[in-house]
């Protein structure tokens, strides 16, 4: 990576850490108000400059995601900037699509994308990924049915993008707004109070052809709908890994600070090897996780054909490590760590949920291993 890039990222990181660190705390949950978001320019990082975006790449989005993980921020960034913008950019250039991208970059619209967010998101190459909805033309319109669970940021979204299979099995994206007849969006509360999910059910939903958007046709370089869907799911998985690494870094930092200050038996607990070596192991995990994450981010930003495996490596390693690190943080904080007030539980819950979101470590490892057999 060139020095210029590194410096630009450092700057972005500093700004993000500053803003997210100042974000209001609701209960134990840190949120960012929408106007700050719109102003930040983070929503349109990947939106092309001609659509008033920053024309940047996933590498910059990754910086924001990691800082949000560090601060355990509650925000609709995953739905809008990662999945929403990512989905729209993966589609053919429809007029409506471009309008949406422009609105998203400006913070005028919040998007949620209904796609598989469980282990199905990590299906090995060759195993088809079934969209959660089916769409079929009928009497000049399109009929949509299906249901997706754990759709990130679905409840507050102004725009829903539903991943559906057309009668030929090709994946398409159907754009609908909440309130559309036949569409039901319901909140799905989770223990991790820093994330919002919903179920999105389509039953008897009818849209016109203009709302059914397609991926570019397959070319020799391997694009096409199926590849597009995979890339979207990889974005989701990698976004969670970025978030988890940020959280792990926060937990390591807090634990080291606590262990250096907290006195027991007449010395700081961090001077005991049991604590010191546990922190060292956490530091090793963070270091390895960071390398795997950077490799995956670079691959995804460059649309590298090997990006999928790199994502699975980062997702499986980082998200498993993040749970262990948050758990160790709770352990090494002693009673304080188990108290609600310390906020360690916020990171443990967020890491635990992140471990399952867009594919559990074992699912991603199965995808990696499929290459060996």
């Amino acid at each position: 990576m060139s020095t210029d890039f590194t410096e630009a990222h450092d700057e972005l990181r500093t700004v993000a850490r500053d803003l997210l660190g100042k974000a209001p705390v609701r209960g134990s949950v840190v949120g960012v108000d929408w106007p700050s978001f719109a102003e930040s320019g983070w929503l349109g990082l990947e939106v092309p400059e001609e659509l008033d975006g920053a024309g940047a790449t996933f590498a910059e989005v990754a910086v924001i995601l990691r800082e949000m993980g560090r601060a355990a921020t509650l925000s609709p960034y995953l739905g809008t900037a990662v999945l929403g913008v990512g989905t729209l950019r993966a589609l053919r250039a429809y007029a409506g699509r471009d309008e949406l991208l422009r609105a998203a970059a400006a913070g005028l619209v919040r998007i949620a994308v209904a796609l598989p967010t469980g282990d199905a998101a990590a299906a090995p190459a060759g195993e088809p990924i079934a969209p959660p909805y089916r769409v079929a033309p009928s009497a000049g319109a399109y009929h949509l049915s299906g249901r997706a669970d754990f759709v990130p940021d679905a409840v507050d979204a102004d725009q829903l993008l539903l991943l559906a299979a057309d009668p030929g099995g090709e994946p398409v994206v159907v754009a609908v707004e909440p309130g559309h007849p036949g569409l039901a969006v319901a909140g799905q509360p989770v223990l991790d109070a820093t994330r919002r999910f919903g179920t999105v059910t389509a039953d008897g939903l009818v849209v016109d052809e203009g709302a059914v958007w397609r991926f570019p046709p397959a070319t020799e370089t391997g694009a096409g709908g199926a590849a597009g869907v995979r890339r979207l799911l990889d974005r989701g998985a990698l976004a969670v890994a970025c978030d988890s690494l940020g959280g792990a870094e926060a937990m390591l930092g807090r634990t080291v600070a606590y262990a250096g200050a907290r006195q027991q038996f007449g010395r700081p607990i961090g001077s005991f090897q049991a604590v010191k070596h546990a922190c060292a192991d956490m530091a090793v995990q963070v270091a390895v996780g960071q390398e795997l994450l950077e490799a995956a981010v670079t691959a995804v930003a460059a649309a590298d054909p090997g990006a999928g495996v790199a994502v699975s490596r980062a997702k499986s390693y980082v998200c498993a490590a993040a749970v262990e690190i948050a758990g160790q943080a709770m352990q090494l904080h002693g009673g304080i760590g188990y108290a609600w007030e310390s906020g360690v539980h916020v990171y443990l819950k967020r890491a635990a949920l992140g471990r399952s979101l867009f594919g559990a470590p074992s699912a991603h490892r199965a995808r990696i291993a499929a290459r060996f057999v």
Partner: protein
């Protein structure tokens, strides 16, 4: 070969007892109590606990480990049978009375005066609730550095200080209190042990919310609290020794109960979670990886159960090793954490939508994420896992102690 009745129960007698307990469990355990106790307000939880305690008491099952003269009298072998059957039938746990029937009772029996015993043991059977007032903000793992003071004034002591992590203090009638009576003595010396009436003026109890969102832990602020000298338990300034001697007294049977619960409801939930088809229609249990983990965890749980039974038997026989309780506590708590962690993994995204767990259950409620986080309540309090490893190394294996800081 100590322990009254330890070797007297024949296998046939134990089989009879097992049949009796089994029948009692079937007739008495409230059907669907888990669902009914999920997310209930505190008053309902307390009422349910008191009611269940009295039900067990009528059957003679509430305090089997007490001496016969006070209402107990079961041999270790009999208690093993009792706790196995209660776990196998998924009985509610005695959470509220835990400190009362274990820590308070064993302290009273070992170090109390006859008057103190008569005052409290029957009261405990009638539902008197106790809390342990040991830890302090600056005295967690390093309990001996506690700062709460008890100043002698005539026939009384005047107590000032702050206690932390006092589980169930909100509902407690009495407190087992450690406080410093000689501020000039070195750390472990100069600490005395008191029975403190929680209705005494100057006591302020504030709940602390824990990582799973419950508030059973409390802070206790003590401001000029007057405790009659008659409520000193054991000799003045010898409280540390008394507390140490009675602290692990109940550990064997408690751990046995928890191990049996982990091996019954706990492992059953896990196999059920693995046998439930996922979103794609496949069952985790059909995956060789999941099978391998299940087999490893079952093996470890069976090992834990055997370890606990052995501990109880050796405790009864007076041959228990110096670090056995620490081995069991360390192993249980970390195994519990691994089991629950695996449950969280297997149950996937759906696991995170279980926002409440059944009150009166143990750490195996089936609400995986809450149980996972709750498992730190075992690896941290009562001596962290790090402290247990040090005890095992030093007392169990005879390894040298660390040099004391500053000389």
């Amino acid at each position: 070969m100590g322990g009254v009745g330890a070797m007297t129960s024949s296998v046939a007698d134990l089989d009879d007892l097992r049949a009796t307990v089994r029948a009692w469990c079937r007739a008495n355990i409230p059907a669907g109590w888990r669902a009914a106790q999920t997310g209930v307000p505190d008053e309902q939880y307390v009422a349910f606990q008191q009611e269940w305690f009295q039900q067990l008491r009528s059957a003679g099952y509430a305090v089997p480990h007490w001496p016969a003269e006070w209402g107990g009298g079961m041999s270790a072998a009999e208690q093993i049978v009792l706790y196995q059957e209660l776990a196998a039938h998924d009985a509610p746990r005695l959470v509220l009375a835990f400190v009362s029937i274990h820590h308070a009772a064993s302290t009273l029996l070992a170090a109390g005066t006859d008057e103190q015993r008569k005052r409290h043991l029957p009261a405990i059977l009638d539902g008197e609730i106790w809390v342990q007032g040991f830890s302090e903000p600056e005295a967690g793992s390093d309990l001996a550095s506690l700062r709460t003071t008890a100043r002698a004034e005539g026939e009384s002591f005047v107590v000032n200080g702050q206690k932390l992590w006092a589980s169930g203090a909100r509902y407690a009638d009495w407190c087992l209190l450690l406080a410093r009576t000689d501020p000039d003595a070195p750390k472990r010396r100069g600490i005395s042990y008191f029975l403190m009436d929680m209705r005494t003026p100057g006591i302020d109890v504030r709940p602390i919310r824990n990582a799973v969102g419950e508030s059973h832990f409390c802070e206790i602020f003590l401001n000029d609290v007057v405790i009659p000298a008659a409520n000193l338990i054991g000799p003045r300034d010898a409280g540390w020794r008394v507390a140490q001697e009675t602290l692990g007294a109940e550990r064997g049977m408690t751990m046995l109960e928890l191990a049996e619960r982990l091996g019954n409801a706990g492992f059953r939930w896990l196999v059920e979670a693995c046998s439930r088809p996922g979103p794609g229609g496949t069952r985790p249990i059909d995956d060789a990886l999941v099978q391998d983990r299940l087999a490893a965890l079952e093996t470890e749980i069976v090992g834990l159960q055997a370890l606990c039974r052995g501990l109880v038997e050796r405790h009864d026989a007076g041959t228990v090793g110096p670090a056995e309780a620490s081995i069991v506590k360390l192993y249980y708590s970390e195994l519990l954490q691994r089991v629950m962690d695996f449950g969280v993994e297997i149950a996937g995204l759906a696991a995170h939508t279980q926002l409440t767990k059944a009150q009166s259950s143990g750490w195996e409620s089936g609400a995986w994420v809450l149980d996972f986080i709750g498992s730190w309540e075992w690896t941290i309090p009562g001596g962290t896992s790090e402290i247990q490893r040090t005890i095992i190394g030093e007392r169990g294996l005879g390894l040298p102690r660390e040099p004391v800081a500053g000389g």
